[in-house]
Amino acid sequence: MIAGMALVTFSIRYVMFAMAGRIRFPLWLKQALTFVPPVVLGAIIAPLILMPEGFLDISFSNPYFWAALVAAGIGFWRQHLLTTIVVGLVSFVLLKWIMS
């Protein structure tokens, strides 16, 4: 499994460098690819944050949701990754402690 993951990851990163400009993507594909990073990351975290127990939960007893909301607020305000992460983590720990 690890060998497969390593191979796949390296191939994605290397194929363009190996061909060194001999591949040209059509414009539509280039434009579509710009959506890939945030869309994939968003699809990964949405269930983790909004349904930690396996069902949609935006009640006060879901610390994942509220901590994410705080982190997003800080993220848009400060535009600084490390601040977002630290504030998000601290509020998560606090919320979990309050709720327990």
């Binding site: 499994m1 690890i2 497969g4 993951m5 390593a6 796949v8 990851t9 390296f10 994605i12 990163r13 290397y14 194929v15 363009m16 460098f17 190996a18 061909m19 060194a20 400009g21 993507f25 539509w28 280039k30 434009q31 579509a32 690819l33 710009t34 959506f35 890939v36 990073p37 945030p38 869309v39 994939v40 990351l41 968003g42 699809a43 990964i44 975290i45 949405a46 269930p47 983790l48 944050i49 909004l50 349904m51 949609l56 610390p63 994942y64 901590a67 994410a68 982190a71 997003a72 848009f76 535009q79 990754l81 490390l82 977002t84 992460i85 998000g88 983590l89 998560f92 720990v93 979990k96």
Partner: protein, 262 residues
Amino acid sequence: MAHVLPNSDPKPRATPASNSSEFLQGAKATVPMIIGAIPFGIIFGTLAESSGLSLLGAMAMSLFVFAGSSQFIALGLLATGVGPVIIIATTLVVNLRHLLYATALVDKVSHLSHGWRAILAFGLTDESFAVVNNRYIERTDTNRAHWFFLGSIVAMYSNWQLCTWLGIGLGELFPDMTNWGLDFAMSVTFLGMIIPYLRNKPMWIAVISAAVFAIVLRDLPHQLGLVVAALSGICIGYASQQIELRIHLSKVANNQNKGSQL
């Protein structure tokens, strides 16, 4: 050169004199990224065992795959009992964004040997891309820039190995660490990474629809929901970008028509 020649450029040149100073600058420029990656790497190490990955497996993954987000996702999939084929396929989808990074940098490395290009490609993480791409934008002296690139990669790589190893050790010392809710660290890191992209409506639409699809389709077998949600989000985002473009173009055309009538 310590002394300045009389006819030389009056401004001191920012160009470093040697490969090693480029290398060091690359490493230095990567330090903020490293600080962000430290908790990430440690948490990966601590979560490995409880997800069903051996300690050796966790270390091997960091050594050979060297892609933080897909390593985390692999752990999540392993914990839910998903097989290796699905994990490898998911790795492919999740890491497709690196194809974009390589596309952006390919013209800068095309003069290098295949060995160099392979090493630089291996280390093309989100973080090193951000740092190296910035250097190419800010400075035009690029004949030694591959040493800068290498410096950034070596710094990221050694830190990632160290943190994975540390995390494995901490996980052994505090077996209940997995109950501390550290899984939220990955969510909040990804959340922070999404924010800079949300600068226009199509991107918002793409991310929100991917999130909705991911929630609705969560119970599909083999985490297929993630892949379907990502592909749907990309299509919807692209479509709304095209629609926005058409509307914009027709507005411009209308304004020009009005202008010519006056």
